[in-house]
């Protein structure tokens, strides 16, 4: 585990306890939690301890909130998340997985199909070239296969998409995104994450070079335009 935020309001519905796990196979150029990337850092914590912490926060969750596991990339620890989510479900707590969908194996499918109320799937880029530039890894298709699996399970999903002017925020790419997912029935909303530079100091602290130095933040008009395009394809578009 990397850390816990007890008052998460931007990682799923309602008020959420957000657990940031340590370790990710991607290294996205804009990552705002780069300190969670290294798979060797973090601290171990007992599952039951986390469950107890969640129970103490349960009264704040209301009808909508619950627990979100984020990262890093949480599905790397799917084996451990299965008993964790199972316990949360026993306690009547809503579970949410914030993932890039890079891996899909049997334990992950079990986690998704049996114990995960909501998946927030991060779509990095609609083109293979763009995907590689952002993440440093190949094969964007794994994420789409992940989405397909979730769709076939009939369980709820949100998409998340980071908007960077010129890089991911172009009308062509947005239409491409919309067209790809427009038939999906499990997608309740798409969240647009406007690119910001708030994570830069963390990159500097790690001694890493921040390659997106020249990217700029979206203007209000650009955000609204993106939102308008996507609302042709999705039930709900939210700017986070």
């Amino acid at each position: 585990m990397h850390s816990i935020e007890s008052f998460g309001t931007h990682d799923g519905p309602g008020i959420r306890m957000v657990i940031f796990l340590q370790g990710c196979k991607l290294k996205c150029l804009y990552c705002h939690n780069p300190d969670t990337i290294d798979t060797h850092g973090g601290k171990e914590i007992h599952i039951e301890e986390l469950v107890q912490r969640a129970i103490k926060m349960k009264s704040y969750f209301g009808e909508k909130g619950g627990v979100t596991v984020s990262g890093g990339e949480p599905v790397l620890q799917a084996q451990n998340l299965i008993p964790f989510f199972k316990r949360l479900k026993e306690e009547g707590i809503h579970t949410n997985l914030d993932t890039n969908g890079r891996v899909l194996n049997h334990p992950i499918m079990e986690l998704l199909d049996k114990y995960t109320d909501l998946v927030m799937l991060d779509i990095k880029h609609m083109t293979e070239d763009g995907f590689q530039k952002i993440t440093g890894q190949k094969n964007k298709e794994t994420t789409f296969n992940f989405a397909k699996h979730r769709e076939n399970s009939g369980k709820k999903m949100w998409l998340r998409y980071v908007l960077i002017p010129e890089i991911t925020n172009t009308p062509e790419l947005l239409h491409q995104l919309g067209n790809y997912f427009k038939e999906y029935k499990t997608i309740a909303q798409i969240e647009l994450q406007p690119y910001h530079k708030l994570g830069i100091h963390k990159w500097e602290a790690l001694g890493w070079e921040y390659e997106l130095e020249n990217a700029r933040e979206n203007t209000q008009e650009e955000l609204e335009e993106a939102s308008k395009i996507l609302s042709n394809y999705f039930k709900k578009v939210k700017i986070n």
């Binding site: 007890s6 008052f7 998460g8 309001t9 931007h10 008020i15 957000v18 926060m57 009264s59 704040y60």
Partner: protein
Amino acid sequence: MLVEELILERPEKREFTKGLWNTSINVRDFIIKNIVSYYGDDSFLVGPSVKTAKLWEVCKKETAIERKKGGVHSVDTETISGISNFKAGYIDKENETIVGLQTDSLLKRAMKPFGGYKVVQKALQEQGLKPSEDINTLFTKYVKTHNDGVFSAYNAEIKKFRSLGFLTGLPDNYARGRIIGDYRRVALYGIDKLIEVKKADLANITGPMTDAVIRLREEVAEQIKALKDMIVMGNHYNLELNRPVETAQEAVQWTYMAYLAAVKEQDGAAMSLGNVSTFLDIFIERDLQSGAITEVEAQEYIDQFVMKLRMVRHLRMAAYDEIFAGDPTWVTEAIGGMLNDGRSKVTKTAFRFLHTLYNLGPSPEPNITVLWSPLLPANFKKFCVKVAIDTSSIQFENDDLMRNLRGSDDYGIACCVSYQELGKQIQFFGARTNLAKTLLLAINGGKCEITGTQMVAGIAPCNCEILDFDKVMANFKIAMKEVARVYNDAMNIIHFMHDKYYYEKAQMALIDTNPDINIAYGIAGLSIVADSLSAIKYAKVKPIRNEKGLTVDFKIEGEFPKFGNDDDRVDIFAHNGVKDFNNELKKLKVYKDAAPTMSVLTITSNVVYGKKTGATPDGRPLGVAFAPGANPMHGRDTNGAIASLNSVAKIDYKDSQDGISNTFSIVPKSLGATEEERIDNLAATLTGYFEHGAQHLNVNVLDKETLLDAMAHPEKHPQLTIRVSGYAVNFIRLTKEQQMEVISRSFHKSM
């Protein structure tokens, strides 16, 4: 207090449902029989009337002049303030639907010298003024004040604890306040009836003439005089306060007049209003139903009433600002809550009160306090949370907790956070003791860590290299016991003298004869104590001592859990600190057999307390401000807002029934991405926090940048309001130091 044949005549009006209220003084019964709970939304609300808008323009203009003059608009130096001593005063008569000012002119302050004459002299001197010759002769030669009385009885020990900052803010040179008159009684019964009942009470207070009986007879006689004086005050405004009201306008007017009598006579630190909105709604609803008035008029009454409450002023000297910054008056109005029978106390007038924060803009006064229950109507919950987000002007208290534990569903909030049953109960205000400094006594052989003065006997000097938890704890308990003893002594003297020299006859006239009394003790520095004990237990704390052997600093090796992270290892110290000190206080007999209660509340005194406190074992350097109320120390609650709230919720209300104040500041964006989400999330936060048994939450939804901008350009933010411990202030009226302290607080941001 049975009154035969008290049948109120209300020609041409729908009759109210009768009950106990017709045969005894019982406003609660009137409410229960006649309340119209409201479950709808805010769509019925209207903007300010033309008259209201005009009046508010005058008020804004005059308050700007007041600010320009450094905080005081004008002062009357000829008249001793009292219930009927000033003739009528108006803002702009033809536009005033609700009339009445404390003096004969808007924002003009009055002398109330019975609390202490020196304070009045000082306050005037700071304005380049002095009291008239007559008054000066009177108060220097003939009249004894509360302050004179207290200081003739204080012993050397109390004076020492007071001057060295162990006990601070004691109401020994200013009025104690905290008493809430049941101002609704004047409207419901008229003063003639109230006099009749008090006279009957007086006749029934018979011998043997012990001290207590004599005192009570004198007090009731004073109350009757005050009631008669209220009629005279009403006459100045051509109001027949002797009779019960006939219309909604009169209900608001009479209730305000009763409150006005209180703030003409007394300048107590906190002069709460109670819970009038539910009561007033019954009259407003009746007049709306009969077609006598429209919503515009209904809102106008409330807007103008609230406007008047915002214009209440007391004459204070500058030093007062250290403890109670921003010229507060604590006109605390409790809104919402549930009846014991399960119905909601939310009425349309609850909405109308909150709506004044839009119609007149944000404001610290009246100190609007929402009594929160998960059972409140959903529409009201949404609305009051929206108002909190938009204005940072309101606070929330746990109605279920207080109602169930304390018993009544007809209560107001005294001062900041304290339950007080209306018309049946009063409080003796006790300011607070510095618990962090008390802990330092345990480490310094019972000596003041700054001056070396021996304060407490029986604590062995500690010369150990590393502080030993068990030893410190044992000494801390001795220190608490001794400080409690001196504190109790001081309180007994103060309240004895206040009753004797500055008795609240107007307010007490509107309360049952011989009511229940709570003494409201308090503590400051709780999170410092919890973190210090945690450091001593879980890390190695090495005291650095000066040549006198007093601690000047502490070297800490290793990590230790800090209060505010939902960690039982340290939260237990906060819980026990409150419990142990309260238990010490409970052992001590109080004047008039008042029942002890305690609060964890600081107002803005956390700054001055910090100044007077040396370095503490948690690593806090000498002079650094404490966290306000029961808040975790700034920046130490690192696991997010809920973990912070959960820590505070562990302090048991049973041990601190005067209240446990927590101030929650959050950046708007962190509360949610959209307005709808922010409303849902704040409502869920309140419900969650109170479900953990917590009592109070101040809510600020602000960016630090706004506050910094207000410091740089105060003229652009004349109405910027922020909640501090238990009340709200106009941010630009805080001192620079206090502003910086507010800015340095934890503003919760999610990642």
